[in-house]
Symmetry: C2
Subunit: 440 residues, 2 copies
């Protein structure tokens, strides 16, 4: 009996991002029930959907390891400012007015942008996460979702947010494409009580923990004054760290702290564009990689990037560390691509399921059209993906074996409607914030 596959991608150049970093020429991939079931020069059997891979580069979908998705509505409202001015005078006053309709519009817009530019999974921390979960379910993308936990306003805030965080875990766990996370915002916005409560919830539910750590030098200096320790030393001291912790940024980290991170299996979400734009500093990524600390790549929110295009962060990650260390061999193309795919999967604890193109893994796959002047001639496919390709070159995006974009057409979202609604909700949000003049 001839087997009937759901999707076959035929005769493509495949950058697998597997442990050997294999790049396969003129190979095919068969997908069935959401998983990759065969990779070979020829694939047996028929398929419902055959995609011609000739002239295309196939790679695992990007894992965006750190973002605040619905901030797409705030793209470009304020740039080129010191972090605290940007937050205090621009972002926070607007965010105070965010409601579910804004969040839904921003999430749909961000998901459309991510599917277009080849991201198949993202790690989000933001408000109204139930609403974002609806957008994730509807669109077919994969996500790790957490609602921010903080208690700068005291125990009532802490209790309320912890209850919401726990409720989110209960409602979302078990979903095929959603991994609930706990989202303690940062050591400087969370009390020790809150951090310990997060550890308890982690132990109870086995979920991951998404936290900002050591983004700016000031924040580290303040914690040293307050606690007499650097952030990872403090987190280690209270027993907060474990392999489920994804520490976004991790820019200002000492040798001792890196030792702690390695020992505890802490993961890093590196955000080179956001760090550069805010002038936060340069994370010691070559040193993380040398020590075998898992590093994923993220865009951060669209208000501090201002794009969710992982191709940009991919190229800039490869460039930034060469420039910062003076070593042109730092973070070579292969290492950058690994961070953006399997590295992000490792950060989210999903590397058994996604992050590379291998038999048995979920079919989270993107295809890049290389029949373009800027991707010609084809010498090194990995070099082309890292240094020459752009988000707009993605022709197909497949998540969980389902085609979310085919030849540049979105299959699950009505893009015109999504954009119109995003404009409408941004107008509403800015009007509610008394800053309608920010729209052009």
């Amino acid at each position: 009996m001839v087997q009937n596959m759901d999707i076959v991608i035929k005769d493509a150049t495949i950058v697998t991002a597997d442990a050997k970093g294999r790049v396969l020429k003129d190979h095919s991939i068969a997908v069935e029930d959401g998983r990759i079931v065969e990779i070979g020069e020829r694939v047996k059997g028929e398929a419902d959907h055959v995609i011609d891979g000739r002239g295309r580069l196939v790679m695992p979908g990007f894992v965006n390891a750190h973002t605040h998705l619905s901030m797409t509505l705030l793209r470009g409202v304020a740039d080129d400012l010191p972090l605290m001015t940007w937050l205090n005078d621009h972002i926070w006053p607007i965010e105070a007015n965010l409601n579910e309709d804004h969040i839904r519009a921003g999430a749909d817009l961000g998901i459309a942008e991510m599917i277009r530019s080849g991201t198949t999974c993202f790690n989000d921390m933001y408000w109204h996460m139930e609403t974002v979960a609806e957008s994730v379910k509807k669109s077919g993308i994969r996500a790790a979702l957490s609602t921010p936990l903080l208690d700068v306003m005291g125990p009532d805030q802490r209790g309320k947010l912890l209850r919401e965080g726990e409720a989110l875990i209960k409602r979302l766990r078990g979903h095929e494409r959603i991994t609930p996370f706990l989202g303690p915002h940062a050591p400087y916005t969370c009390s020790e009580e809150l951090l310990l409560a997060v550890k308890d919830l982690h132990d109870k539910y086995g979920v991951g923990v998404h936290i900002h750590v050591s983004e700016t030098k000031e924040e580290v200096e303040n914690l040293k004054k307050d606690k007499g320790m650097r952030p990872f030393e403090y987190l280690e001291g209270i027993g907060f760290l474990h392999p489920g912790v994804v520490a976004a940024h991790s820019v200002w980290v000492s040798e001792v702290e890196m030792g702690i991170m390695k020992e505890r299996g802490v993961k890093v979400a590196h955000n080179p564009v956001s760090n550069m734009k805010i002038a936060a500093g340069v994370a010691p990524v070559p040193e993380y990689l040398r020590r075998g600390i898992a590093v994923g790549l993220g865009t951060d929110g669209a208000a501090s990037n201002n794009s969710l295009d992982m191709f940009e962060d991919l190229k800039i990650a490869a460039l930034l560390h060469k420039s910062a260390t003076g070593n042109p061999e730092a973070v070579p193309a292969e290492a950058a691509l690994e961070m953006a795919t399997i590295g992000g999967a490792r950060a989210l604890g999903l590397d058994g399921e996604i992050g590379s193109i291998e038999v048995g893994k979920k079919a989270d796959i993107i295809m890049v059209d290389r029949k373009k002047p800027h991707l010609t001639p084809l010498t090194n496919p990995v070099s082309h993906l890292v240094y020459a390709a752009r988000g707009g070159d993605v022709s197909h995006t497949i998540v969980d074996g389902r085609i979310l974009m085919e030849e540049g057409r979105l299959a699950t979202l009505d893009e015109e409607k999504v954009m119109a609604e995003a404009v409408r909700q941004t107008e509403d949000l800015l009007a509610k914030s008394g800053t309608s003049d920010r729209l052009f």
Copy 2:
């Protein structure tokens, strides 16, 4: 009598890059005989060609202030290596086999890529420049062209290249879209005799001078050992500097040298991506801008970038200097956009003709389709162009009042043929160099 315009762009958002940095909403532009003749809310008269500007951002075409165009054939052949290894073991052995057919194929490929990503003028230094000039004439793009001058092999080489350089000036000057330049390669590859001969030719023909200066620290240290002076001090000492000099890179420059550059009116071509990739260092661009030294933006060759997409260098220029100085207000979006347009025009001495959208200037104009998720909502058009737009978003490219790309279709180049010929010539070049294995 109703005037008949060649092109009218109607109802667009126009980022002018004029002296006031004006951004015009719902404005139209009329083009006649290659020049912008009117800008207003309404434009009088009929036009042969009306372009709907709604949903589009209009800006001056990019001026790529430093590249080696035909290196597009070497895109991705070698990456992530120290500069001298990259040159000695990879690039130079291949370049030794370059013939006119290779150069033509690489130039056509690079021009297709540039037109697609919104570059309307480029400053090129490479071999077989007569052939590149043919590609420029045929394609309709604008260029400043120079053949490299160096005499590391002695007076015979010097004499031969100087004769060729002078012949190129005589043949190309007066062409509507080509500005011949002199291309002394660098202070470390040119003797004092050669540099003085270049100065004489500049005085004789009034042409500009395109030279690499202070790209790497090693090169500065070597010149200090050799001449007892830093590069710009040395060039000043021999009377080489004047306002026609475009100094590519200018990374390692002292305060004293910046004083010299300002006094002599020397221009800078800044190449942030190439500098980062080669780990050459970070040029003191905020300081150049503070002193009023003209700075243009360049991609450098595609082998050290690996793209000719000025949108990337634009964003990365805005990011890099924030990161390198720790100041999030360094090189704001407006300053980066200025570098990429009117700054480049100033560097080439063409700012009276191109680089901004103003009545009387040449119609070198591009249009960006903003009806895309990653350019929604529209808050700040300049921010969107710098931080969110990509080369693939360009819908129209107009040079000298002629439409070279319309709705993503190239008008003057047969793109399929250009790409096929580039592959063929790369195969031939690599075979001649004994490194056919570099093609995937």
